[in-house]
Amino acid sequence: MAKRFTTQLFVSRLSGYTTDQSLRQLFSPFGHIREARLIKDSQTQRPKGFGFVTFESEDDAQKAMKAMDGKIVDGRLIFVEAAKDIEAQPTKVEENTQSHYKTS
């Protein structure tokens, strides 16, 4: 049976003014948070508008998801869903490449 990563939530459609702190504060009413992080653009370091919130307990995560999905935050409607399994993340597939002279 596949292990589901249900302590982690994927939060999207956040405002550009959101910070890691404000994200944590937004979800802390639902339980103890292990980690709250925004995904930032690698070059500009600006938040991309989505991030991950990891709870200590699955129950807290489920409660938070039910309560916050579709809620208006800072004037914007946000989505909250269970983060996909790490293994299910699409990995970049290397194009069929060949270096060196073919030996087979």
Binding site: T97, S99, H100, Y101, T103, S104
Partner: protein
């Protein structure tokens, strides 16, 4: 029996080109002491040279000599063969007993290139010999360097 020089065997084959990814080439060399040296180089995606060396048994050297002598390549001449060009270059150098050949020509894409050349017969012999030698060398190298031995 005559001196050792009569039994000397040396063979070197090179195919390569210079381009966007550096000097990409494949070369192998059968040395008289039985060492087979292999190199495959490319800077494609910042890759580096692959070098491998193995020692061959007398039985194998004998087989290689047989392949060469049956091809009758030692009777050929590269005089009419296409010159090496921007696309690439092939070199074949063989010493067998008291015979010595040293050929240089362009890359051969297929038998069409052989047929349309000024010496189809000779170039065909070269083309098939190179295929046979590559087959032998790649088999030897891959058998010797298995990551997980059988």
């Amino acid at each position: 029996m005559g001196g050792e020089e009569e039994n000397e065997f040396y063979l070197r084959y090179y195919v390569g080109h210079k381009g966007k990814f550096g000097h990409e080439f494949l070369e192998f060399e059968f040395r008289p002491d039985g060492k087979l040296r292999y190199a495959n180089n490319s800077n494609y995606k910042n890759d580096t040279m692959i070098r491998k060396e193995v020692f061959l048994t007398p039985a194998l050297l004998k087989e290689c000599k047989r392949i060469v002598s049956e091809s009758e390549i030692m009777k050929e001449d590269d005089f009419k063969w296409p010159e090496p060009d921007r696309v690439g270059r092939q070199e074949l150098e063989i010493v067998m007993g008291n015979e010595h050949i040293s050929f240089a020509t362009s890359k051969i894409g297929s038998l069409v290139d052989v047929q349309s050349s000024d010496d189809p017969e000779g170039l065909r012999i070269f083309y098939y010999l190179v295929q046979d030698l590559k087959c032998l060398v790649f088999s030897l190298i891959s058998l010797h360097f298995k990551i997980k031995p059988i």
